[in-house]
Symmetry: C2
Subunit: 202 residues, 2 copies
């Protein structure tokens, strides 16, 4: 088994944190995005989307998409559960994981793609849309702060994949000037807690 990985993009970090929480070690194969290695024919055979991460199983099966890869490991090694502890909790975690994707992850990612120099010439950028997304991510923070008033983690009393998505979104958002305002006490408390877990260094 091997995981095609890069430190140059945030999606692979979501998987590395997930693996660190599970205590699973997988050999990493670095893919260099700066030289567009992910757009070369050899890599496109692994994932026609040209994206990392990609998990390659020993029988050659290729699994792309961060959440699908995460679910593979959740099934292989259920403890500690990061995607729910019972059928209803699995659904609640999925709801929150998707809310974090739509409110934070997608907005931060679209802001980066549409405004950052890295994507100049790689995609058709629309900076005005990037700014709309940057504001939308910032606007989501007070809402998330209020949600966290009643519970320790985003999907409830346990650390889950929803926390990983939110943490990586906010860390990545710093390059766009997105910061948690100190007056958002619940969100600041949550961020300090998830950032101090050893997995955050993954």
């Amino acid at each position: 088994m091997k995981l095609y990985d890069t430190k140059q993009a945030p999606n692979p970090r979501r998987v590395r944190i997930f693996l660190a929480e599970k205590g699973i070690e997988v050999p990493l194969v670095p893919v260099d995005l700066a030289s567009a290695q992910n757009r070369q024919p050899e890599f496109l055979k692994k994932n026609p989307m040209g994206q990392v991460p990609v998990l390659e199983l020993d029988d050659g099966t290729l699994i792309a998409e961060t959440v699908a890869i995460s679910r593979y490991f959740e099934q292989q090694k259920p403890e500690p559960p990061l995607m729910g502890v019972d059928p209803l909790d699995r659904v609640v975690v999925e709801m929150w994981q998707r809310r974090m994707e739509f409110k934070l992850w997608t907005n931060v990612g679209s802001a980066f793609r549409n405004t950052h120099a890295f994507f100049k010439g790689r995609i058709e950028q629309v900076p005005e849309y990037g700014e709309v997304c940057r504001k939308a991510a910032i606007d989501a923070l007070p809402w998330l702060d209020a949600e966290l008033a009643g519970r320790e983690f985003i999907a409830g009393a346990r650390y889950t994949i929803a926390d990983i998505t939110a943490l990586v979104s906010l860390d990545f958002g710093r390059v766009l000037g997105i910061k948690i305002p100190p007056e958002l006490g619940n969100l600041s408390r949550w961020y300090a807690a998830v950032s101090s877990r050893p997995s955050a260094g993954a």
Copy 2:
């Protein structure tokens, strides 16, 4: 149990098709998006995102997000399986479901939101970005056609949630002038097959 629903948006149709394939009937509660009923305080208590569909269980538990609602029913009534038949297949289906979301669903949805009169004054529209997304959805069609050369459905030999996401994306895309070119024979064959299932009328 009840499902907050509307015919005015495509996400609820994804759940209705899922339920029709499962043979599950759930009482529907219509939510009128035209009069912004989804933005009223009463509905925001059901889903702070202001979006349909939302599933309300008999004990008052509220589940939002189309794929989370779908997973609830997949767990409640596994047959016929729409999210995978075994652990590895579940991961493969999730990969394809997400690819359909990123390549078709998100692009069609962003094109609609950023260009259509319905969203004028409701959100900050960036028509230039909408056009980028419309083109991206159209550009994905030959790729999907090639993928379908070797198999009957999007995630393999069985109809799954990935087919539902792709079907609803393409039907919704018609309002933006997105059509399957007749020379894309595999995609046309797939589209005819999934459209002729009774569930497509849901």
